[in-house]
């Protein structure tokens, strides 16, 4: 539970920080998706988080991304939730022991997130009044989005690792005694 709260907190701060930094430094390049890296961390870093807890984290982060990016409520929430389920399913089968694999996973996660978002928006485009051509055109920037995310994946992963390490509640002596066998 505490790990899930830390994930949501870190995801929230990063989701707020990236556009703020982009605005302050007047960046005109594609900004990375830090939530994709956080989702990777949730799915692939041990000790494992349960699917329900992970889905709660993904839903919360997706909801916050919806708010920060001004997307129709639920769009990114649903994309993040489904993306986490995919990542969780993959994490049962493969591991990401080294950073090159984590960087690649972050890039792939972003592509999956963007495709899911595009799919959700395409389904609801008529309801929202979006033009399909505009949505299709946005797919051209997926590569840049993946590249930007891959570039920041390492520091974001380290930040999440550090937060999990620093904010982890310490076990008392009695807990350790309780873990001891009879």
């Amino acid at each position: 539970m505490f790990r899930a709260l830390v994930y949501v907190g870190v995801g929230w701060v990063l989701a707020a920080a990236v556009p703020a930094l982009g605005s302050v430094f007047r960046l005109t390049v594609m900004l990375p998706s830090t939530s994709a890296v956080v989702l990777n961390h949730v799915a692939f870093s041990g000790p494992r988080v349960g699917v329900a807890s992970g889905l709660v984290v993904a839903t919360a982060i997706g909801y916050l991304e919806d708010l920060h990016q001004g997307a129709p409520a639920g769009t990114l929430t649903l994309a993040h939730a489904i993306a986490f389920l995919v990542l969780h399913w993959v994490s049962i089968r493969i591991a990401l022991p080294r950073f090159p694999a984590r960087l690649a996973a972050a890039a792939i996660t972003v592509v999956v997130l963007d495709l899911l978002t595009w799919a959700v928006l395409s389904v609801l485009a008529d309801a929202y009044g979006f033009r399909h051509a505009s949505l299709n055109a946005s797919l051209e920037t997926v590569g840049w989005h993946a590249l930007a995310t891959m570039l920041v994946a390492y520091p974001v992963w380290m930040v999440v690792d550090a937060c999990q390490g620093v904010l982890r509640p310490r076990r008392g002596l009695s807990d350790l005694r309780g873990e001891r066998g009879p």
């Binding site: 489904i82 309801a127 929202y128």
Partner: protein, 297 residues
């Protein structure tokens, strides 16, 4: 296939959690711009967070901007210092040229005021005493132009006379040299005398005690030696002492030359004296022959 209770619970939880975004989507489809109470609460909590992040990012940005600005300022300073060095060097050159220009102008003005035939010459060497006084100068006119004993003048006054010529250079015997003798007079009283060099920027002249010389009196050439044109300044009286000699009482007058020999750049060599004025005829006579050279037209 057995389905454990835990798996069933997970599936139910996943289904419920996936229902949340679907509900959100349903709400947003009905009204895209409506924010619920929960959304507003999250916004209220998140606003200070975003403001804090923005403030921190802005602070970091301003720090880097200042750092970059300082780095730029440092480069600018180095560039400006380099330019400043160049400009200072040019300024020194301009000042030197200005001084030279002023001196040349004065020399030219003097040339226009003097009726004698003059030849300009540049000072190319200065021989100094152990006390850094000029004792001899060298000019860039040699045998082809000048002869020994020709007078040398400057805009400030009498310099000396040509002592030796060799090739394209000539040595000038300064009026402060003990070997130098010039016919002079006190400008105020017209008392004549022979000015003799006393070394180290000093000269002496003995004049009759009948006309009293004073400190500050101007000493000028009298022209009786046929070497120096009449009326050219030689120096100022700095001290007068009376002395009894064989011929009677004389005044020994110390004179400081009006020319700073160590600052000379350009001098004039007198090639020929000016002809005597002949007002009745109204026709200017040609000047007499120069010593060794024809006068310049």
């Amino acid at each position: 296939m057995r389905v454990s209770l835990r798996n069933a619970r997970n599936v139910a939880l996943v289904a419920i959690l996936l229902g949340i975004p679907l509900l959100l989507l349903r709400g947003s489809v009905q009204d895209r711009y409506q924010m619920g109470a929960f959304d507003r609460a999250v916004w209220r909590i998140g606003a200070p967070l975003e403001a804090g992040v923005s403030y921190s990012a802005r602070w970091v940005a301003s720090f880097f901007a200042r750092w970059v600005f300082q780095a730029g300022a440092l480069e600018d300073r180095e560039r400006l210092e380099q330019e400043n060095r160049v400009f200072k060097r040019r300024l020194r050159e301009v000042v030197r040229l200005e001084e030279e220009n002023r001196e040349l102008r004065r020399s030219l003005q003097m040339r226009e005021q003097v009726p004698e035939d003059l030849l300009s010459a540049e000072v190319v060497g200065v021989e100094q005493s152990p006390f850094f006084r000029a004792v001899k100068i060298q000019i860039d006119r040699g045998t082809a132009y000048v002869r020994p004993e020709m007078a040398v003048l400057s805009a400030d006054g009498v310099v000396g006379r040509i002592e030796k010529t060799h090739g394209d250079r000539s040595n000038v015997l300064l009026i402060t040299d003990p070997a130098s003798h010039i016919a002079v007079e006190i400008a105020r009283t017209k008392a004549p005398g022979i000015l003799q060099g006393a070394g180290e920027d000093r000269c002496e002249v003995k004049i009759s005690s009948e006309s009293v010389a004073r400190e500050g009196d101007l000493v000028q050439t009298s022209g009786v030696d046929d070497l120096f044109p009449t009326g050219h300044p030689v120096g100022r009286v700095t001290r007068v002492t009376n002395r009894i000699e064989e011929g009677g009482e004389v005044q020994v007058v110390e004179v400081v030359p009006s020319v700073r020999f160590d600052h000379l750049r350009m001098v004039w060599v007198v090639l020929a004296t000016a002809p005597e004025p002949d007002p009745p005829s109204g026709i200017a006579r040609k000047p007499g022959s120069a010593r060794g050279l024809q006068p310049l037209n």
